[in-house]
């Protein structure tokens, strides 16, 4: 089956997890991403690949089930939306501290509080600043299409095992619920227990006489040793910044003005670039694909030729802070966002581009 299928983003993510050879999914229903667990259940994954699918009693329990499975060296994935992701923050902090690989997906909806079930990008701060207590980060991938919802699952698994760190796929209700054509890679085999023991010598696979105990833990009461633990995970984040920053540029070679947007906002802005170019405005799009690590170095380099930047988000303005930190005051950075689940139209953004950016930064 190596042909295009028409699927919604949530289902594509679920199918990609099966194909990536995932061992377990734990979750709790929440709109707009319940289709992930529904699809997995319908697929009878235990028969198809042996993948475990379990509906937990809460997001708090589900994230700790992920900890148990990931700590045993298994590929474990969990999905939710804002309110559920908030409940998981305790567990995510322990996953990062215990260096447990796993894939998380947040199909964002509008907040704060119970908010709305419509799309939003308001969890950017939570996703990129760690989210839970303590000094840690998760690597964050932001898909902008159904195809990327599928592609980013095996990528996220690879990165999570490369760094022994949780990797978060940060999408929103629009990408999750939208249907597009999508192509999947062939089925990857799930690793056998012996392969896991060989590849992941840190996993709790049972203490054999020829090795010491494997302990997945985060407690360390001696300050000097705890600081050393902090340095170890900090070094991983520095390595991520050096090796795994991802972004996409569209029409940036000759651009005077740059729109910076990620995920579904970037989809809209792609159209804005076409509309602007039709009117003779040399606009380009810069789309961060990893939100942490943020593609700061590249963005800073672009300020040498770009006159001004407009950041578009489905929030009150969160990523714009990273854009401003990257640009460091060299050129003006403007912001426009919609909230409450409202998605701006390309013409609306084009008007903002003209009024906020071009007329004031000629």
């Amino acid at each position: 089956m190596n042909e295009f299928l028409l699927m919604e983003g949530n289902e594509a993510l679920a199918e990609a997890a099966i194909r990536a050879g995932a061992d377990a999914y734990f979750g709790y229903p929440i709109t707009p991403q319940s289709e992930v667990m529904e699809y997995l259940a319908e697929q009878k994954t235990e028969e198809r690949t042996g993948m475990i699918v379990l509906q937990a009693e809460s997001e708090v329990a589900a994230i700790n089930m992920i900890y148990g499975a990931g700590g045993a060296g298994r590929k474990a994935i969990i999905t939710s939306s804002g309110p559920g992701i908030s409940l998981m923050q305790e567990g995510i902090s322990y996953l990062a501290a215990g260096e447990v690989p796993c894939v998380l997906a947040n199909i964002m909806r509008g907040g704060p509080g119970l908010g709305t079930i419509q799309p939003s990008q308001g969890d950017y701060f939570q996703a990129t600043r760690g989210g839970g207590h303590g000094d840690y980060r998760t690597l964050v991938l932001a898909p902008s299409s159904v195809q990327e919802m599928a592609d980013f699952v095996p990528l996220a698994f690879d990165l999570s095992f490369k760094y022994r760190n949780p990797v978060l796929i940060l999408a929103d209700g629009m990408i999750g619920k939208m249907m597009e054509r999508v192509k999947f890679p062939p089925q990857q085999k799930r690793l056998t227990e012996n392969e896991i023991i060989e590849r992941y010598p840190w996993a709790t696979t049972g203490k054999t006489p020829n090795r010491r105990q494997n302990i997945i833990k985060s407690v360390e009461l001696v300050s000097e040793l705890q600081e050393e633990n902090n340095r170890i995970i900090l070094a991983k984040y520095e390595r991520m910044m050096a090796e795994d920053v991802r972004w996409e540029e569209i029409e940036t070679n000759d651009a005077d003005y740059l729109i910076v947007a990620f995920g579904s906002a970037a989809r809209i802005c792609r159209k804005v670039i076409d509309l602007a170019r039709n009117e003779g405005i040399k606009a380009g799009l810069f789309r961060p694909v990893t939100l942490f690590p943020f593609p700061s170095v590249r963005l800073q380099k672009m300020t040498q030729r770009i006159k001004a930047i407009l950041t578009i988000e489905l929030s009150s303005g969160q990523m714009v802070e990273d854009v401003r930190l990257s640009v460091n005051g060299k050129i003006p950075v403007e912001f426009y966002g919609r909230m409450g689940g409202i998605v701006p139209t390309p013409f609306e953004v084009l008007d903002v581009l003209k009024s906020k950016l071009i007329n004031t930064n000629k």
Binding site: D23, A24, F26, I52, L54, A56, E57, S58, V60, A61, A62, N64, M65, I66, Y67, G68, A69, G70, G71, A72, R74, A76, E90, G91, Y94, G98, T204, T205, G206, K207, T208, P209, Q213, N214, I215, I216, K217, S218, V219
Partner: protein, 261 residues
């Protein structure tokens, strides 16, 4: 790793030695506390069953947070109250491993109540060792859900007022009522006879995992002489006189059937 035995002791006279599944780390428990005995029993059972390399423990938050330093098997340290959820994830992907949690009353019966109930209701094939000393030991003697009426703790300096704080929580009886629990018992380790019984119960909880019957829950009522502000002997006496009437010892459920009283 063989334990060094004094050359003074002839092999035929050896009646007891430290299990090789117990590490040489110093125990962090207070002198006189039951935790040290319970930890030893778990290690001895793993040793005697020959399942060291097939066992993964899940430690919790509280006095036993450093359990992985004492028992020489692979371990995962769970967040406060979440041990049974961690054990669920672990056992589901490693069904051939013996998985156990070791939790205190604050961990299992307060912050982890939701995880405890649902793990027991799903009938996860794991062992839960639940040490009930009626107090938060490690944090410094605060009231636990299991604290007895009138008992003085650092957050109930005038005694637990059940009108305000509710009644001491007999969670084990409630868990026994769930179809997912297979073996439920309440034990103690304050006398040699109680220690032998508790060890049998711990062994049963591990053996049951071969039957895939569901959760085996061993509650051990224990003393906290530091938190109770008593000498160890006095604490054990107080436990017999006050804890045991409210938390009666004995089997509650065997092989999935409630024990008739």
């Amino acid at each position: 790793m063989s334990t060094v035995i004094s050359p003074m002791i002839k092999p035929e006279n050896l009646v007891y030695k430290k299990s090789s599944v117990l590490t040489d780390s110093l125990l962090g428990y207070c002198p006189g506390c039951g935790h040290g005995t319970i930890t030893r029993l778990v290690a001895e059972v793993i040793d005697e069953m020959g399942i060291q390399q097939d066992t993964v423990g899940v430690s919790s938050v509280g006095c036993s947070a450093f359990l992985f330093n004492y028992i020489d098997v692979d371990f995962q340290g769970a967040p406060h109250g979440r041990a049974t959820a961690v054990a669920t994830g672990l056992k589901r992907v490693c069904p051939n491993k013996f998985v156990f949690t070791y939790q205190g009353d604050g961990d299992l019966a307060a912050i982890g109540t939701g995880e405890t109930f649902h793990t027991c209701n799903r009938g996860e094939n794991i062992a839960i060792f639940f040490v009930n000393n009626g107090i938060y030991g490690m944090t410094g003697g605060q009231m636990a859900p299991t604290t007895l009426e009138g008992m003085v703790t650092s957050t109930t300096p005038f005694g637990r007022d059940i009108k305000q704080m509710g009644n001491p929580f007999r969670i084990t009886e409630l868990l026994a009522a769930l179809p997912g629990t297979y073996y439920v018992t309440r034990q103690a380790v304050h006398t040699p006879a109680a220690v032998r019984k508790a060890k049998k119960a711990i062994r049963m909880a591990f053996e049951n995992q071969k039957k895939n019957g569901g959760v085996s829950l061993v509650e051990i009522v224990s003393n906290c002489n530091s938190g109770w502000k008593m000498a160890p002997v006095q604490a054990n006496q107080w436990m017999e006189e006050n804890m045991f009437p409210y938390y009666p010892l004995g089997d509650i459920k065997i092989d999935g059937a409630l024990v008739k009283k």
